[in-house]
């Protein structure tokens, strides 16, 4: 298994984390291709999580934009986002490894809820680290995790958000590695997490590719997905990478003001080392990680999975930007035209499409990865309604 994507990736972790990472890699070799594992996972994905997800044609939206938009509906999955694809896969693997507890980080709480959910289902205990700022602004998800039986640990140092929750989860893993599996939430972090998470999320593009074949007899012209850590996007791109498909990742530009905090390391950062990986990173000249910002907590991360940095460096995927206002426009347009409330993460992909509408040839077939549903974001959207009106 390769630890690097070109210049990016690696295992920049304390020596005390190398043995559990090696143990995980060995377990992947043994179990992932195994028939029993695959059929158990398929059963959970299909009959517990709700796969396969539909590919929804958007007639009114398509008319407004001038090209055909179809949504890959990860928002319809159990717990409301694509995060469950990865959580189920890793939890099942952890069980095979004889681990009894899952530890995870969460920002908005979507991955935390997914981990708490699968832990309950598979009889594992769960400890979720969450920045204290996020605990405050995502109360409902904290309550959901607790109702599901998980322990939620509030992290009150550093930026008190996702970045510091990851630091704390890594520290917890160092101490408790014998019994604990770290269920990393995105296709980032030290090897083998980027390839492990990519593997579980690539079911998105596998299903989509086959659905397109069935519906229009070919691949779409373009696939657009929001990029935070990059798990829904790498999942949506994976099976289209070898094909002639225009792939667009959309990073969160923050408020869009000059010099504002943002979550766009590919567009606005430079290569650096954080959380076990070498990848694009928002940082100061002396290598201190900068706080990130996005209206969408799920994109609020100062780095990005190493494969995205690589796909950018070789020009295979284009990485665009959408700011908070554009995301809100994407949100309201989809709600109004199709009766679907998207999460603020994929709203960035929709916002990018609106802004770049004129550059996309008419009658193009465009797929948007609708990674999650918007219920969790209603408070934030309502408080920004003014921005939409203006």
């Amino acid at each position: 298994m390769k630890a690097y994507y070109g210049e990016f990736g690696g295992q920049y972790v304390p020596e005390t984390l190398m043995p559990p990472l090696m143990e995980l890699e060995e377990a992947m070799d043994v179990h992932l291709a195994d028939q029993t594992f695959q059929s158990e996972l398929s059963d959970l994905l299909n009959n517990y999580a709700g796969r396969p997800t539909p590919l929804t044609l958007c007639p009114t939206l398509s008319k407004e934009l001038g090209f055909t938009v179809r949504l890959k509906r990860e928002d319809l999955l159990h717990t409301g986002s694509h995060k469950i694809n990865n959580a189920l896969g890793q939890a099942l693997l952890a069980q095979k490894m004889g681990k009894t507890e899952l530890v995870a980080e969460t920002g908005a709480g979507q991955h935390g809820v997914a981990v708490a959910t699968v832990a309950a289902r598979l009889g594992l205990s769960a400890t979720i680290f969450m920045g204290s700022v996020d605990v405050e602004r995502q109360r409902m998800n904290v309550e959901r995790m607790r109702l599901l039986g998980a322990k939620v640990e509030s992290v009150s140092h550093g930026t008190q958000t996702l970045k510091d929750a990851i630091n704390e989860a890594l520290r917890y893993w160092i101490v408790n590695q014998k019994t604990v599996h770290y269920c990393f939430g995105t296709a980032a972090g030290p090897h083998p997490f980027p390839s492990l998470v990519r593997g579980f999320q690539s079911i998105i593009s596998l299903e989509a590719r086959d659905a397109y074949q069935k519906i229009i007899g070919r691949s779409p012209d373009m696939v657009v997905a929001a990029v935070g850590g990059g798990s829904n996007s790498i999942g949506a791109f994976a099976h289209f990478i070898p094909l002639v498909v225009d792939l667009v990742g959309v990073e969160a530009a923050g408020t869009g003001e000059e010099g504002c905090y943002n979550s766009a390391p590919i567009n606005l950062g430079r290569p650096g080392i954080l959380h076990g990986q070498r990848s694009m990173l928002l940082q100061t000249a002396s290598g201190q990680v900068l706080p990130s910002h996005s209206i969408s907590a799920g994109l609020d991360y100062p780095s990005v999975g190493p494969e995205h940095s690589y796909l950018h460096s070789i020009g295979r995927v284009r990485y665009g930007l959408a700011n908070d206002r554009e995301a809100l426009e994407g949100f309201s347009l989809l709600a109004r035209t199709e009766g679907i409330l998207p999460a603020l993460e994929p709203s960035h992909a929709l916002g990018w499409l609106i802004t770049n509408q004129a550059k996309i040839p008419p009658r193009s077939e465009v797929m948007v990865c609708l990674s999650g549903r918007g219920d969790k974001d209603l408070d934030i959207v309502l408080s920004h309604l003014d921005a939409i009106k203006n």
Binding site: A3, E7, G10, Q11, Y12, V13, P14, E15, T16, L17, M18, P19, H157, G158, K163, D164, N167, L170, R171, I174, V175, Q177, R270, P271, G272, I273, L274, H275, G276, R278, L281, Q283, T284, A285, S286, G287, Q288, V289, S313
Partner: protein, 277 residues
């Protein structure tokens, strides 16, 4: 054992005096940007054989709350690698200095001072800038987030320059892995006493004893025990003392709370009651 290593020599000199070498660790800028430099001088005057200086990083995953908070404060006070090197140039310590830095501050310092043609040249080969700028004020470098697998470019940058890249091993590092590290190790070997982060612990675990024994078999270099140490009597739990002891969090907590370097070092200067190796 490389005869030219200043670090190895400093530890062996202590061994000859039948005591473990004393290796205090201080995060740069702790307890504040002025007092920090005074503390280094006082450590030298009060029996330090080697001084480790922590380069602050925003995301120190190997560190406990005390060093993490001290790093955060230092960053807010403007402390970075360039500031540390400039200060070292001025105070001219006689004891050898080791910098402990996460990979990113090193990588970005090098990136900013090199004009490579492409990404890979700037990121990896550019680390050589470090050795140039570190000499002669720095005798060793410890990167807590650079394990064996990622150490290649760092060895390329430092090997043969008189700056030792210090190897870290933990209670879960297998003898097989230790043997691989042994081929690259220089100066001394940093033996992490527990599966955990930095920070004061009351007792040394049984794990520490076992790790020291395995490291002794694998390495032909002095062993320095670190993580959790605060006072000499903790070493009684070990069969044999390590060749050097590293104390960070306990010292820093003492200094942050207004204690003197002299008082902290005093117990370590008393006659050493335990048997060496």
């Amino acid at each position: 054992m490389s005869a030219q290593s200043k670090l190895t020599a400093a530890i062996l000199a202590a061994t000859q005096k039948k005591r473990p070498a004393r290796v205090p660790f201080l995060t740069a800028g702790c307890p504040n940007v002025n007092r920090f430099w005074e503390c280094l001088v006082e450590l030298e005057e009060n029996g330090a054989d080697i001084i480790e200086i922590g380069v602050p990083f925003s995301d120190p995953v190997a560190d406990g709350p005390l060093i993490a908070a001290a790093s955060q404060k230092a960053i807010e006070d403007g402390v970075d690698l360039a500031w540390i090197l400039e200060g070292l140039k001025k105070i001219k310590l006689k004891v050898p200095v080791v910098l402990m830095s996460y990979a990113n501050p090193l990588a970005q310092y090098a990136w900013d001072r090199s004009e490579g043609a492409n990404l890979s040249q700037r990121s990896l080969a550019s680390l050589k800038v470090l050795a140039h700028d570190f000499r002669p004020y720095v005798s060793g470098v410890i990167c807590p987030d650079v394990p064996l697998e990622e150490s290649g470019p760092f060895h390329l940058a430092f090997d043969g320059t008189g700056i030792d890249l210090i190897v870290l091993v933990g209670p879960n590092t297998s003898s097989e892995r230790m043997a691989k590290y042994a081929r690259l190790a220089k100066g001394y070997v940093y033996v992490v006493s527990v599966l955990g982060t930095t920070g004061v612990r009351r007792d040394l675990s049984l794990e520490a004893r076992a790790s020291l024994a395995r490291a002794r078999a694998a390495f032909d270099l002095p062993l320095a025990l670190g993580f959790g140490l605060s006072e000499p009597k903790q070493l009684a739990a070990l069969n044999k003392s390590p060749d050097a002891v590293i104390f960070g969090s306990a010292l820093m907590s003492h200094i942050i709370n207004g204690g003197s370097v002299k008082d902290f070092m005093a117990p370590w200067l008393e006659a050493f009651p335990f048997e060496l190796r």
